[in-house]
Symmetry: C2
Subunit: 405 residues, 2 copies
């Protein structure tokens, strides 16, 4: 892979909170900017808002063309007019997480006050960006929701790290969450998942272009290390069955290093199609994602542990909750396996919460929540529709409303 200079920057819609947010680490991070997108119309009663929380490498462009990659929104299958999260009925909000790199305050943001550089060209935070937790992400989203004039979310929905945010929303602001849909997630990050994240980080640290996190000084980015991290992570998002179905053992001529004829047995010549696919995943990822954000956000996932402040009792944060939960897992997900969703369900049950649980049969692995799974779509559509009845939402709430921003 050639050396890649920093990704192009684009303008994002955002809200700035000058007073900032007090983080779990004790630091007051100020100012905090949160980049976001909305879809649909906020009802007059301001009661039809759904907050969608994105996963590790997702962003706010949930249901529209991505301004950097030109690809469709990451959940455009799920969010839109007539879709399971129906923007004809609901006002959908999605924001880039704190610590991210798509317009929200993160390691690439200018460091105020104490940083180096001149006032005209302040240095980025880089590795001095304070440590962020999933709850810190939720705290900043809470600011945004209030800023949009919303006192109570109809629902919070998200998969993977997005599902961790859903759980933290229900735990931290229970009165603001009517319904919660944590998908393919867990109440804590497992030792195995911490281990995978650590390998990702070591791959980035090992890249000489990381320069101790100060890569902005060189104009290059740690593209090779970040690509290795992404390639490894991508395997964990799929399943053995899905990889076998998609690629099997098919070979494609490559010859990118030796010039040997196609079809000959060689160590560096022909490659398997699955390898070509992974290399593509790695090389496209580094053009849109910041390495220091990757470090910050993977660390936030590692610290996720809903039982930590409750002597390991995951029911602790949910005692007395009035939120309706729909917990969803996928049968072939080995990164956030069904057993971890069951821990959530059992904890919510011990807390006497209103909880439904569905394990969707799928061979697509963890990424199933982003892919075409009709049974999953029906589950989300049905739960949200039924919950909307319980919430007393008008069937056409959005059409009676006014847009909030």
């Amino acid at each position: 892979m050639d050396q890649i200079v920093s990704a192009p920057t684009v303008e994002h819609t955002s809200a700035v909170f000058p007073e900032g947010v007090t983080l779990d680490c004790g630091t007051v991070l100020a100012p905090v900017e949160i980049a976001y997108r909305t879809y649909g119309t906020l009802s007059a009663k301001r009661d039809n808002a759904i907050l969608i929380c994105h996963a590790l490498t997702g962003d706010q462009y949930v249901a529209e063309t991505h301004p950097l990659t030109g690809k469709p929104g990451w959940w455009s299958r799920m969010v839109g007019s007539g879709k399971p999260i129906d923007t004809d009925r609901f006002f959908v909000i999605c924001s880039n997480v704190l610590g991210g790199c798509m317009g929200s305050t993160g390691p690439r943001s200018p460091r105020p006050v104490t940083g180096g550089g001149t006032p005209d060209a302040p240095e980025p935070w880089g590795t001095d960006f304070p440590p962020i937790t999933i709850r810190d992400m939720v705290r900043s989203q809470h600011r945004l929701v209030k800023h949009l004039g919303i006192d109570r979310l109809f629902a919070v929905v998200g998969g993977s790290m997005g599902g961790m945010q859903v759980l933290e929303w229900a735990a931290t602001y229970p009165e603001m969450v009517f319904a919660a849909v944590p998908i393919a997630t867990a109440p804590f990050h497992s030792a195995q998942n911490i281990a995978f994240n650590e390998v990702s980080r070591q791959a980035i640290f090992a890249d000489p272009d990381w320069h101790g996190g100060r890569y902005w000084e060189t104009g290059a980015i740690p593209a090779r290390g970040l690509a290795v991290a992404r390639m490894m992570a991508h395997i964990t998002y799929l399943s053995e069955e899905a990889l076998t179905r998609k690629f099997g053992r098919r070979v494609r001529p490559c010859n990118d290093t030796t010039g040997k004829a196609a079809g000959t047995l060689s160590t560096f010549g022909d490659i398997f199609e699955v390898e070509s696919y992974l290399r593509h995943q790695g090389s496209t990822f580094v053009r849109r994602f910041d390495a220091n954000s990757y470090l910050t956000i993977t660390r936030a996932m590692d610290w996720m542990d809903l039982g930590q402040e409750h002597d390991g009792e995951y029911a602790g944060p949910f005692v007395g909750t009035g939120t309706r939960f729909c917990v969803i897992s996928f049968s072939s997900d080995w990164l956030f396996p069904t057993s971890q969703s069951r821990i959530i369900v059992h904890a919510l049950t011990r807390a006497a919460a209103n909880v439904s649980f569905v394990e969707i049969e799928s061979d697509k692995g963890h990424d199933a929540f982003l892919l075409d799974e009709p049974d999953f779509d029906r589950t989300v559509r049905g739960f949200l529709s039924g919950a909307a009845e319980h919430a007393g939402l008008s069937r056409r709430a959005a059409q009676e409303g006014t847009h909030a921003s």
Copy 2:
């Protein structure tokens, strides 16, 4: 991690075959040196030899202190006097695979004839080492076995890549294998396993100290890339349950980069115990293993496909076989899952082979075959003992014999 210079070299016992081996790629690799160790005594009838095949990063030091690491042999639990592979009864052979780095011919060996350097200081093969297959490894072991004066092996035993060699032995030299014990293995390398290997290779390629494979010229080795490869691979050798049992979410103060006080939330300070463990696995591995060997051997695994020359019919290589098979898998092994062992068993059954199959209940993952699993030990002991009766081996064969080398 500090820059590490090349690992110290030690003397190994070996046999040299000047005429070399004709490889699957068509190249005649000559000379070929195979480093090996033996344990126990060859019987007078030369009928009690067991060949043990090692896995990706194993070597010939199966049942004695390793000369580089000072650690016990990698299968000393299984091989020795009175142990499941009983050296009081059997003559045990284990050789370093072709392409390896513990004395057998591999990328670190001097390149004859056409290489650069002077005759006094020939260059190593490096990335010009010819591509090796599992069958090529077996061909070179076949030379060694013949060299030791053995016309028929009582048994060939191995786990993981060692199990692939067991299958290739039975397929290539059926008349020379009385019994075969392929453990935690597969008749082909799956798309997911190729994908993991590819990430390992990319991690090595990304290390600037790899220098396009010519790292011997600099005195440094691609330690960071190789460590990342090892860390990732190590996760795949364990299981979520084993990692949770061993490490859970326990944190240990580290502060290796920031000097922050222990116990504070920070991105680069305290680390989870599982991270510390993985870092240790990575840093010790690079002191004993050669990066170009890692590339060569992972590629050999990727090419493993017993069905390739039989239109995808895995029974093809085994039609008419007289070998007795004992196929063993572990319930929590997700790298070489039981489903892949079942493919072997079904193929052997279609070939009307004598085959037993045991799935051992274990939460230790793929590495279970290297760890304390009494049920596994009993299975190997029982099968070998029973097969020895069928083979008409004396109960004390070794004590009547003479050492072969």
